[in-house]
């Protein structure tokens, strides 16, 4: 009996310490969370495509890194300890490596087991697009429509990671300047599949030389195209400059290719 009591006392003492420790951790987590919520919406901390709102994302993401592994251009990285409670969650630093959609099928979203990268909207958009495109088509084999292509395009156009906006002060086009050469220097590691690329996979940005009278890299290299960004004359003086449209997915290829020292176009995460 005496022994049993000692055991119980021991348990209560260490259990008390444990509960105290948990309370400290909980309070700490709360403060970190408060500190985090605003800071997180940065352009170098975009969530991967299909990410649900940040609150649900934080408890749904189990930090397995499957999205990191499946990404063919390795755009997705896991946050380090300096991100506090976001430690281990995936993000995209578009300036270093943008999401260029060269995987063609939202693979990071498909692989996510807890659906914090939610595939359903993409699936629905893809199916709807295929249905619309094949409407009235009797024999698919004899038509020009490739349903897979239609689905792929519809899926990537559904992505809304954020929205780009041009910083006029530094933008070369806004200053009427052109660009010639390798946009980010010879040591830049980033890869992407340019719209005019002849291969199906991503190639290094440093391998491509540009020569533009007026710099329009963000427009020509955009994987979405004219739905997302256009190069058009300014109403005031007729000078050409890029304009971001509603179709922008926030993939950040424009940010990655921008040749100015600090990117003259940035992606702002969509607050939801």
């Amino acid at each position: 009996m005496a022994k049993k009591q000692i055991g119980r006392r021991e348990f209560l003492i260490s259990g008390g310490i444990a509960v105290g420790a948990l309370a400290v951790v909980g309070t700490g987590a709360h403060y970190l969370d408060v500190a985090r919520s605003d800071k997180q919406l940065r352009q170098d901390f975009l969530r991967p495509p299909g990410a649900i709102n940040e609150v649900e994302f934080m408890y749904g993401c189990i930090k397995c890194g499957l999205c990191v592994q499946i990404c063919p251009v390795q755009a997705i990285k896991l946050a380090g300890a300096h991100e506090g409670l976001s430690y281990g969650t995936p993000y995209i630093d578009v300036r270093e490596q943008a999401c260029d959609f060269s995987c063609d099928a939202m693979q990071c979203v498909e692989t996510c087991p807890t659906a914090v990268l939610n595939f359903i909207p993409f699936k629905e958009a893809g199916l709807a697009a295929v249905e619309k495109a094949t409407e009235g088509v009797v024999d698919l084999r004899n038509s020009d429509i490739n349903p897979f292509e239609v689905q792929k395009v519809a899926m990537k156009e559904t992505v809304r990671m954020g929205k780009a906006h041009v910083i006029k002060d530094t933008c070369l086009a806004h200053q009427g300047k052109g660009f010639k050469g390798i946009s980010r220097g010879k040591d830049f590691e980033g890869i992407y599949r340019a719209p005019d690329s002849k291969v199906a996979w991503a190639t290094p940005l440093k391998d491509k030389e540009f020569d533009r009278e007026i710099c329009n890299l963000c427009v020509t290299e955009c994987p979405i195209g004219e739905k997302a960004i256009v190069f058009e004359p300014r109403r005031r003086d007729g000078k050409m400059r890029p304009r971001v449209l509603e179709g922008c997915t926030g993939c950040g290829v424009c940010v990655m290719v921008c040749p100015t020292e600090k990117p003259s176009i940035v992606v702002e995460p969509i607050k939801s």
Binding site: E10, G26, H30, V55, Y59, A81, P113
Partner: protein, 315 residues
């Protein structure tokens, strides 16, 4: 009768200790000390286990480094040749939070398949078998334990032990914490996940926390994390309550030396090896046992063996 194999036999009256004539060393005709030390250098199961552990963890690393689709992800969640596997406590936390917020309906089928596959798999292998055969932190702690034992032996530090039920306080506590904060708080402290991710995706600042926990284990309390905190181990312990694969103890071959308890991570599971404690001729270790095999290696009389409970007649 069928449930006899599930009972530990702890509440029965103990058998009488064996007389000297029945001790294994007398039967062999050697000194007691010599008998005790007869298998001190045997590391058969340890070597097999370490090889398996390193192989599996390397498979994670290699799969990412060379883009092979063998074992992708990390210990928090992975895909084995395209087949999903989940960490059960991680999954429990997600379930706890998402069922209060209604997000639970969005969890993918892969999540459920992964969770049930891994539970079933480790259930057959013994629950906490995961700890000693898979967990990279266990590997680190197991090796650091030697340092701790050395310090204790040199009387440089004192051994501190806590109540074994502490794990359940942490287990419930972390679940409550997850629901209250709507964050997977444990994942930020989870040394298993941190070590696993550090190996696969490259080291980060949070490795300092792992080092901190290891240091605490070395200088203060032996295997503190594994024994008293780790909710993942606790989950496996609950899963392994009825596991068939376990370790069998044969009283007839035992010499009461208690060497097995010294090497054991969870000595309370080997309560029956002490002189006059066993209540049956044959005992099985319970669900806290990690099936690491250290006791099997060290036992002078081969009294401990791996067994599949309830299948003795078939095999």
């Amino acid at each position: 009768m069928a449930f006899d194999i599930l009972k530990s036999g702890k509440n029965k009256p103990p058998l009488k200790p064996k007389p000297v004539e029945e001790m294994p060393h007398t039967k062999l005709g050697i000194e007691y000390k010599e008998w005790c030390n007869s298998h001190k250098t045997r590391h058969k199961w340890r070597n097999i286990r370490w090889t398996a552990l390193i192989f599996m963890n390397l498979l994670f690393v290699v799969s990412f480094a060379f883009d092979l689709s063998i074992l992708e992800g990390s210990l928090s969640g992975s895909r084995l040749i395209g087949f999903y596997l989940m960490d059960p406590f991680n999954a429990l936390q997600v379930l706890a939070v998402s069922s209060t917020t209604g997000y639970i309906v969005h969890l993918t089928m892969n999540f459920w398949i992964g969770l049930f596959t891994i539970l079933l798999f480790w259930f057959f292998l013994g629950g906490r078998t995961y700890c000693s055969w898979m967990c990279p932190y266990h590997f680190l702690a197991e090796n650091m334990e030697k340092l701790h034992n050395y310090f204790v032996k040199k009387k440089m530090i004192k051994e501190h032990s806590f109540h074994i039920g502490l794990r359940f306080v942490f287990w419930i506590g972390f679940l409550i914490l997850a629901v209250v904060t709507q964050q997977l708080v444990f994942e930020d402290l989870n040394v298993v996940g941190i070590t696993s991710r550090a190996m696969i995706y490259g080291p980060g600042l949070l490795l300092l926390w792992v080092v901190g926990v290891l240091l605490f284990e070395i200088v203060y309390s032996k295997r503190f994390w594994c024994r008293y905190v780790c909710p993942i181990g606790t989950t496996w312990s609950l899963v392994g309550k009825l596991s068939p694969l376990t370790i069998k103890f044969d009283l007839d071959k035992c010499g009461y030396c208690r060497d097995c308890q010294d090497v054991c991570l969870v000595p309370h599971e080997l309560w029956f090896v002490q002189r006059g404690k066993a209540t049956q001729k044959v005992h099985y270790t319970g669900s806290d046992c990690t099936r690491c095999g250290l006791c099997i290696d060290t036992c002078g009389g081969n009294a401990l063996t791996y067994t599949i409970k309830g299948w003795g007649a078939v095999l």
